[in-house]
């Protein structure tokens, strides 16, 4: 919503300065978004310099100019003037500006295959003289004014732009803003000017609101004005229209716009002579077509509210008029519409047609239904005074009455909500000034809500009005109490936090990537999950919810590789979606690691490095290593031979995957995933007291063995068999070599391991050790089919 201080003065008698008003508006919830000098019709024309003028490649008499238009902005302009040359200071008109001579609006256009952004002007085009031979040549004094408007800003006023929240349609008119300011003692709200319209002619044009289902039009008021002389608007009106950022069109159109912004009362003017027989407000039929004032054709669905005549739709109720009945400069007789349309239905229709307008913006928020006549009054009065003519009596068609809402308001709720005492006469004063009608009923007020405030439903809304006008700075801050009802983090949140820091501490950089991704990338990782499509994605490469953290991580790793980073460790912790219903998501930690091949100083990266990162992370999350069960089966996006999954033995839950990623997806990259929610709370761990520590001081002995086994045998099986033999003596089994090749039969491998043997009760002698060694050899040979390597 835009306005100027002098416009506000029409409604508010106030001695406050513009700057004070701006502060106050912010303070009462009418946020000032922008303040900028009022533009006039000529502010677009700026001083500019031709940097380079070269011949147009496809036209002998045209030149291609590079023009400095200020703030280091260089634009390309095609120019036909013979005097266009390097270094010339001249006047530039950007696309969107209107050339005074012919009223032509400039657009970006192609001239003989070269795009031209705006034009360079001659004196005649700017109506400065009749000189049209070449473009204007300015002297060098203007060299430091490049980018400045040539005609200056004649108007010293500022345009104040407010960002009005959707609950305050009343402030989409200057009068509403004035009323709010008056309520906080920033002046006095003036009475609306009384018009002395002589409604001497008859309203002899038939208007009817059809009794359709979900009829959006509740009131249709109109008046006829005959024998007008439509014209260009007078200066004051043009300036108001320009201040709004609109282009003046004609007095009739400008006046309807002016009233809309002044009183928040949308109006529409029809050329009466173009309406066939009568006006019917009805629901549309499927397939009806409207050519609207925005020059687009709209094909209507069923049951959209149209204003129609016997030939078809003239406009969409509360949204936009049509070209067929639009007023023109030579229009003689007009009909002005001042109506009320249902906010929801209007919004739905506009949304369906993807149509926006100032009127729709107001109707969907709620217009004062009791402003029908004052709107007609104001518009007719202005039209008569500018264009002459005779006004008819007003015709009001109405199918429903609007009674003001009444609220029983207990003023003590103000203190209860905001924490400070407010006297009831202050409450009375503020609400009355805002237009509420208050009557005392014992301890409470009976409050009548003005019809221009559709946002007020109950007591709490009135509390907001009171504190808003008083100023929130009056609320006293209460120091927070430092007491806790419940622990800050639950078990899973602690794990999230711990996992994040645990992975980062292994040299990984944490990333945050989109929860959506490219369907094509995601397809490699979705496995059994159905693709979850976003109906309205921001772009086609972010069109599905991710089923894995890998697609985005790999995408960004490749990007970093292109930037020249060969060694990278990235990870993300976040949601992975398993279905499209709320809650069908799991939390995954995913690490991705790649090392440059050229790095000879270090051992080339292998799967055991990524396994180490995963295992260590799981152990740091509190799972004992003896809880792990490792299997070779993994999802298809891993290298089938070089990857594994880890399960917890006790709950048989999948804890995570590790391995090399499938070479068809990405080259030589390793990754791991942890399924965070599968790390469940172990009951025993809730007991914080540890069992007392016991360890043996008797001598420890190590025995080395090498077994030849089938290639398919997992090292883990071998270790488990040995550990099972006698856990009072065998304390540890470590593999120190795996060998295939010479001296080993094909299909076999040799596993060398070190077994640590220790008793808790005595020092073992040579016999004891031989005994246990034999047991180890026998068990392994028997259970695994291994042979002791000789």
């Amino acid at each position: 919503m835009k306005f100027t201080k002098d416009w506000l003065d029409i409604h508010l008698k106030s001695k406050k300065k513009e700057s004070q008003i701006i502060d106050k508006l912010n303070n009462i919830g009418l946020e000032v978004e922008k303040i900028e000098p009022v533009k006039n019709e000529l502010s677009d024309f700026v001083i500019a310099k031709i940097i380079k003028a070269s011949k147009h490649p496809n036209a002998d008499r045209l030149k291609l100019c590079e023009v400095d238009t200020g703030e280091n902005k260089i634009v390309k302009v095609v120019c036909g003037a013979p005097n266009a040359k390097n270094g010339l200071l001249t006047i530039y008109a950007p696309p969107g500006s209107v050339i005074p001579k012919n009223g032509m609006k400039l657009e970006v256009s192609k001239i003989r295959g070269e795009t031209s952004y705006g034009m360079l002007c001659s004196e005649s085009e700017l109506k400065l003289s009749d000189e049209s031979e070449g473009i204007i040549e300015l002297n060098s004094k203007n060299d430091n004014k490049i980018g400045k408007p040539y005609f200056g800003n004649s108007n010293k006023n500022n345009v104040i732009e407010l960002s009005i929240t959707p609950n305050r349609p009343d402030c989409l008119g200057v009068r509403g803003i004035a009323r709010d300011l008056a309520a906080c003692d920033f002046g006095e709200l003036k009475e609306l000017k009384k018009t002395k319209l002589n409604k001497k002619i008859k309203h002899n044009f038939k208007v009817k609101i059809e009794k359709d289902k979900n009829q959006a039009c509740y009131v249709f008021g109109s008046c006829i004005i005959r024998n007008i002389k439509n014209t260009e608007s007078p200066g004051w009106l043009k300036n108001r229209i320009l201040a709004l950022g609109l282009r003046p069109i004609s007095a009739v159109v400008d006046i309807t716009n002016y009233v809309m912004f002044d009183l928040n009362r949308p109006l529409h003017a029809y050329d009466l002579d173009k309406i066939k027989n009568r006006i019917i407000v009805r629901n549309s039929k499927k397939g009806e077509i409207l050519t609207a004032l925005d020059n687009n054709n709209y094909t209507l669905e069923e049951n959209m509210c149209v204003i129609a005549d016997d030939e078809g739709p003239l406009g969409l109720g509360g949204i936009i008029g049509g070209t067929r009945s639009g007023t023109e400069i030579d229009t003689k007789n007009i009909l002005i519409e001042s109506a009320y349309f249902d906010p929801e239905i209007t919004r739905k229709t506009a949304k369906n047609l993807d149509l926006n307008s100032d009127a729709k913006f107001r109707f969907e928020r709620g217009i004062d239904p009791n402003s029908i006549e004052s709107g007609l009054d104001a518009a007719a009065d202005l039209i008569i005074s500018i264009c002459g003519g005779e006004v008819s009596k007003f015709d009001i068609q109405q199918n429903r009455k609007f009674k003001p809402l009444e609220i029983n308001f207990d003023p003590s709720i103000v203190t209860k909500t905001i924490g400070i005492k407010v006297k009831s006469n202050q409450i009375f004063k503020i609400l009355t000034k805002l237009g509420f009608n208050l009557k005392k009923k014992g301890k409470i007020f009976s409050v009548k809500v003005p019809t221009w405030r559709p946002d007020i439903f109950g007591e709490i809304d009135l509390v907001e009005e009171v504190i808003r006008i008083m100023g929130l700075e009056n609320i006293k801050s209460i120091e927070p109490e430092k007491n806790r009802i419940k622990p800050t983090l639950n078990f899973y949140q602690k794990h999230f936090h711990l996992a994040q820091r645990s992975v980062a501490s292994k040299g990984y950089f944490e990333t945050v990537t989109w929860s959506f991704t490219d369907e094509n990338l995601n397809d490699n990782f979705k496995e059994e999950i159905d693709t979850i499509k976003i109906v309205n994605p921001i772009s086609s490469d972010l069109n599905v919810l991710r089923n894995s953290l890998y697609p985005n991580l790999i995408f960004y790793m490749e990007k970093n590789s292109k930037r020249g980073f060969d060694d990278q460790s990235l990870f993300e912790i976040g949601p992975v979606f398993t279905g499209k219903k709320p809650g069908e998501q799991i939390t995954v930690v995913c690490g991705l690691k790649r090392q440059s091949v050229s790095d000879k100083q270090h051992r080339q990266m292998d799967v055991f490095e990524i396994k180490k990162d995963l295992v260590q992370t799981l152990m740091e999350l509190g799972i004992n290593k003896d809880e792990f069960k490792i299997e070779a089966k993994t999802p298809s996006y891993y290298h089938p031979g070089i990857s594994g999954s880890i399960y917890s033995k006790r709950y048989n839950l999948l804890l995570g995957y590790f391995g090399e990623l499938h070479p068809k997806i990405t080259k030589k990259t390793f990754g791991f995933e942890v399924l965070l929610e599968n790390i469940v709370e172990y009951k025993s761990r809730t007991n914080k007291v540890k069992e007392s520590l016991s360890f043996s001081d008797y001598q420890k002995s190590d025995r080395d063995f090498a077994f030849v086994v089938d290639k398919q045998i997992n090292a883990q099986n071998l270790i488990e068999v040995i550990l099972d033999i006698d856990n009072s003596l065998i304390k540890d089994v470590k593999i120190f070599d795996v060998y295939e090749g010479e001296n080993i039969p094909s299909g076999k491998k040799s596993i060398a391991l070190k077994v640590t043997i220790q008793s808790d009760y005595k020092t073992l002698n040579e016999n004891d050790l031989t005994d246990i060694s034999n047991k180890i050899v026998n068990s392994v040979e028997e259970k695994i089919g291994a042979k002791l390597r000789s």
């Binding site: 929130l472 700075e473 609320i475 109906v535």
Partner: protein, 355 residues
């Protein structure tokens, strides 16, 4: 000088002159060996008179002691010299680089979430979460945002179905609804998380992070809201004083509603938070609307309270001088390394939020 003394002197000279550990060993056995000098001399004692015996024995013992000491120190001297020579040869260039290691990084958003949780933990808030995919009811309707209301335009929503019933949450406020529906008052929670709006330009990304706050109890009023946010902002920016202003605004789910601005100024191209005459909007808040409480089965005659929503990314940008929101999600290795935090920098109450 007796023969004995001459012989002793001779040994001393020999030892003095040598630097050869083998020769020292030879001399040692010449002196202390089974048939060495000392034993030989002791054997001579038997042929001496009683008086001489005593004197001679004492001079042998003295010489023995003396020679032992000399040999020991000689041995030390020679071994040390050899070791030093060896060590000298082992000398390496310690300015060569250390073995490679990597320090990981925590993303600024995660760090800031931890900082925020730490601050609110101190005043008794606990952390709640909700799903990223929400239904229309929790995201809008329960929060007093009716169907077909222009307030919905404030949120450009991503939908997962054509009927627009399932969506990506546009704010963290549905966590309020979920929390209240599953529990009983009082409620004192914060809810950080991912939020989504179909918006992408210089200052907007289709995904961003929000923090929801909710405190419902008997007699919680706007003074508590002000105190809580004042405390939070001061703690978060680690400043003693903060210039703050509450401006009335509108959110369907709070009434009265406010936006909070903090004062700032620019000095040497850097933003100084908490002072100066410029204002920066950082959060929205208000008293929870009675309709919301009703939808969440909380009796608004007994309970009331406040809620607030803060842009986490925005806070991170302000506190750590990050200019471009989009860079948060671009995963540039250099950016992550520069703006990321050491994983050991866990924000805590006792050690402080940041280093």
């Amino acid at each position: 000088m007796s023969d004995f003394e001459k012989k002793v002197l001779e040994f001393k000279n020999k030892l003095d002159q040598t630097q050869d550990i083998k020769l020292v060993e030879t001399i040692r056995s010449e002196i202390f060996g089974k048939n060495g000098f000392i034993n030989q001399e002791f054997k001579r004692i038997g042929s001496l008179s009683v008086d001489e015996k005593k004197n001679f024995a004492s001079s042998i013992n003295k010489a023995k002691q003396e020679l032992q000491n000399i040999i020991r120190s000689k041995e030390n001297e020679v071994l040390n010299k050899e070791l030093n020579e060896k060590l000298e040869k082992e000398k390496i260039d310690v300015t060569l680089p250390e073995k490679e290691f990597k320090i990981g990084k925590i993303h600024p958003v995660s760090q800031v979430i931890d900082e925020i949780s730490c601050i609110f933990s101190e005043i008794g808030f606990s952390v709640e979460e909700g799903p990223d995919v929400e239904n229309d009811y929790n995201n809008f309707t329960a929060l007093n945002t009716p169907e077909n209301h222009p307030a919905k335009d404030m949120h450009d929503t991503f939908y997962l179905d054509k009927n627009m019933k399932t969506l990506l949450r546009t704010h963290t406020s549905p966590v309020q609804v979920r929390t209240m529906l599953k529990g009983k008052p009082p409620f004192k929670i914060i809810a950080p998380g991912r939020t989504y709006r179909s918006d992408s330009d210089q200052t907007h990304t289709p995904m961003f992070h929000q923090l929801e706050g909710l405190h419902i109890d008997k007699n919680i009023n706007m003074g508590h809201l002000k105190g809580c946010l004042n405390y939070f902002i001061k703690e978060f920016f680690e400043v003693k004083k903060i210039k703050m202003r509450f401006r009335p605004s509108h959110f369907p789910f709070t009434e009265p509603s406010a936006e909070v601005d903090i004062g700032y100024r620019i000095e040497n191209n850097k933003i100084i938070i908490g002072e100066g005459d410029k204002w920066l909007e950082i959060l929205g808040c208000g008293m929870v609307h009675p309709n919301v409480l009703k939808n969440c089965k909380v009796d608004s005659k007994i309970y009331q309270g406040f809620a607030f929503g803060i842009g986490i990314d925005r806070l991170a940008m302000l506190k750590y001088g990050i200019n471009d929101l989009r860079s948060f999600f671009e995963c540039d290795y250099r950016w992550l390394n520069y703006y990321g935090f050491d994983p050991l920098d866990v924000p805590t109450n006792y050690r402080g939020l940041s280093r």
